[in-house]
């Protein structure tokens, strides 16, 4: 029983991690909590389901298209709602993010209607038995896709020029621009990558739970944000660790009968970690110079 929960936890955790990466990268560079990120995850899921139902495409095509759609959406969102507020107080950008998320939720609800939309079986599901554990094919695909995407992201961040520019910008925004880095392009790229990962998470969740709804992004986004902060906001490995950690903890909580407190588990965990290590599990402590 216990190992089964671990698998369920890991699957859920890898989805949280994919979304959390978007929050961490954006926060790392412009210290903005992008509350509309949950909605991008939802729109990715809807893009995936539309590809599958309307155009009868397979898994790979629909997940790629969903990621492309959300990349564009992420860049447009940053350009419209956040760039004008880059110089103003952080709360101003936060309210703009909340406005954007309300807009996206209701736009989708108006277009696709309020009730959940079924995500048809794209992959014929099979159950594999490894010792006592039962792992479904869909779960394996989710774990594999998340792992690949995270590896690709790591590669980009470490070795590709734009990735180094992203890291530079997140260390020191102004100096990076002095060094000839086109900050706006780097920020748009960060939004693009973050949104693509969220879109992938949306398609994977849609496939795993066969359900996609206009309001699915709200709670998932908030929990993924908790995961990002848990791991240490701004740290990419932190987001991965935080997401997995949260997914497993939540599943364990439900298994232990706390399902009525499910949503509270994520937040309780986060508060405990923040009180003992204010900058999260892997975050670097920032010494306030006097």
């Amino acid at each position: 029983m216990f190992e089964q929960q671990i698998i369920n936890g890991l699957t859920l955790g890898s989805v949280y991690a994919l979304i959390a990466l978007g929050y961490t990268m954006v926060y790392g560079i412009i210290q903005l909590i992008n509350f509309a990120h949950g909605e991008i995850y939802m729109i990715g899921a809807f893009a995936g389901v539309t590809m599958v139902t309307m155009l009868g495409q397979g898994f790979f095509v629909s997940i790629t298209v969903a990621m492309l759609v959300c990349m564009v959406l992420g860049v447009v969102l940053e350009r419209v709602a956040y760039r004008p507020l880059r110089k103003s107080t952080r709360l101003a950008a936060l309210i703009s993010a909340i406005g954007a998320s309300i807009f996206l939720q209701n736009a989708m609800m108006l277009w696709k209607g309020p009730q959940p939309v079924g995500f048809p079986q794209v992959i014929n599901d099979a159950i594999y038995h490894i010792g006592p554990i039962e792992v479904s094919k869909v779960q394996l695909i989710i774990l594999a896709t998340s792992a690949i995407l995270m590896a690709v992201l790591n590669y980009i961040i470490k070795y590709v020029k734009i990735g180094k520019a992203m890291r530079a910008a997140s260390q020191d925004y102004d100096t990076a621009s002095l060094m000839g880095i086109n900050i706006n392009r780097v920020i748009s790229f960060t939004f693009a990558i973050g949104s693509a990962l969220a879109a992938a998470a949306g398609v994977l969740v849609g496939m795993y739970f066969n359900s996609v709804a206009p309001l699915m992004g709200v709670m998932a986004g908030l929990k993924a944000f908790c995961a990002a902060v848990l791991g240490g906001i701004g740290s990419i490995p932190g987001a991965m660790l935080g997401g997995i950690f949260l997914g497993v903890a939540e599943t364990m909580g439900i298994a232990a009968g706390f399902s009525t407190y499910k949503d509270a588990i994520a937040f309780t965990l986060l508060i405990i970690v923040l009180l003992f290590k204010p900058t999260g599990l892997l975050g670097k402590p920032i010494q306030r110079k006097v």
Partner: protein, 404 residues
């Protein structure tokens, strides 16, 4: 210091009066009604959501209301006046529910309100309708303290035409025990859903009365997508069936998990499961799952009014079948019309007396009797079962259980 506080008070009052003036202009008549808003029309207000979490119920109830209004208007209206449906959307928010109720009564001067499909907002609107002497019929609320207040007083102006769980659950449980031989059941409740918490209470009472043992008592939450933990703990008790009192999305996913873990038992639930989403989510796993409800559109078994209603609806909605909210929304408007005809008046104070006298009133969703405690006694209870039909899965009537 004195001068300052006076100035301060003036600024605040100024801000508030500015608002009232501004607000006066804004409120505006927005009757997106079927025909022009001449004074002679009888106005029926729709209280419900077309956006937010409960939009699904609102949109269907409104469709039923409009269908009934059109039919009545084609037949010359009621007591010589045309019926006009006044729409408003509270976006599934409690605080806006009260505002919309006030708006319908004060600004749009409606004769009656049909709504809200959910118990919570119905309870918010009920005292407002009662104080302003406007008849309110809920076409969906099944919780308690709707037609009566918490301190036991009967409300004069608030009624409903829904199949109450308290009325339906005992005959259904008897059917499960006698016809299907269920002696051991698992109960699953969605804790953050007031409908589910209330329904579980009723099922537990009926199960104990009928001598059926509850071997597992699991809880989930609306919006959950992962039930592996709960099903894993039900499995060892091997119950004959599952009583699931939550909504359709979680119900479908729950059954998918039940089948995934190799349990070959069926599920029974209330009208919360009643939507195509049940099999969109659950796939074949929900085949055999049973739902009791106050109405089920089954063209093959329906006759008379109900048959005509189903045909009219499906022709107008490219083949789609009406669900319980469409039917009960339709019946609510028809009940109001019959009451006004009987009282020969559209004044709520007068025609409310007629509603109390409804005895075996024939609606498309069943025969309704308003008992002296103003609660509706609706018969029959339709027990539906999900089965593979010609165009995919659909609800088939498994049994029609008369209510004594």
């Amino acid at each position: 210091m004195k001068k300052k506080s006076i100035l301060l008070a003036i600024v605040t009052i100024l801000a508030l009066t500015l608002v009232t003036v501004g607000c006066g202009g804004g409120g505006g008549e927005d009757t997106t009604s079927t025909d022009s808003n001449d004074e002679a029309a009888i106005k029926i207000g729709f209280l419900g959501a077309t956006t937010g979490g409960h939009a699904y119920y609102g949109i269907n109830t409104l469709a039923g209301m409009k269908m009934a209004a059109d039919e009545l208007n084609e037949a010359g209206g009621v007591i010589g006046k045309q019926i006009e449906i006044v729409e408003a959307d509270h976006g599934s928010k409690l605080s806006e529910g009260a505002t919309v109720a006030q708006k319908l009564i004060q600004r749009d001067k409606v004769n009656a309100i049909v709504g809200d499909p959910t118990t919570g907002i119905t309870k918010i609107a009920a005292p407002i309708a009662e104080d302003n002497q406007v008849v309110q019929i809920s076409a969906g609320a099944v919780g308690d303290y709707v037609v009566n207040t918490e301190d036991g007083k009967l409300r004069e102006f608030v009624y409903r035409n829904t199949l109450l769980n308290a009325v339906a659950v005992p005959p259904v449980v008897k059917y499960l025990k006698d016809e299907l031989g269920w002696n051991k059941v698992a109960v699953v409740t969605s804790m953050n859903n007031d409908y589910s918490v209330g329904l579980t209470k009723l099922f537990k009472e009926a199960l104990n009365d009928a001598g059926v043992e509850i071997v597992a008592d699991e809880s989930i939450q609306d919006g959950d997508q992962n039930f592996s933990a709960q099903v894993t703990s039900i499995k060892p008790n091997n119950p004959d069936g599952i009583v699931f009192t939550g909504y359709y999305t979680e119900g479908g996913l729950f059954m998918k998990e039940v089948r995934k873990q190799g349990l070959d038992i069926d599920m029974v639930g209330g009208d919360g499961l009643l939507a195509e989403t049940l099999w969109e989510m659950g796939g074949e796993a929900v085949n055999g799952s049973m739902v009791y409800c106050g109405f089920a559109a089954d063209p093959t078994m329906a006759e008379g009014k109900t048959k005509a209603f189903i045909e009219n609806y499906s022709t107008a909605n490219d083949g789609a079948l009406p669900d319980m909210f469409v039917a009960q929304g339709y019946d609510a408007v028809m009940m109001l019309a019959d009451a006004m005809k009987a009282a020969e008046s559209d004044d709520p104070v007068v025609f409310k007396e007629e509603i109390k006298k409804f005895e075996d009133w024939q609606g498309v969703s069943g025969t309704i009797t308003i008992r002296d405690d103003h609660e509706p006694l609706k018969s029959p209870v339709y027990l539906l079962e999900v089965a593979e039909g010609d165009n995919g899965q659909q609800f088939k009537v498994k049994a029609v259980i008369p209510v004594k």
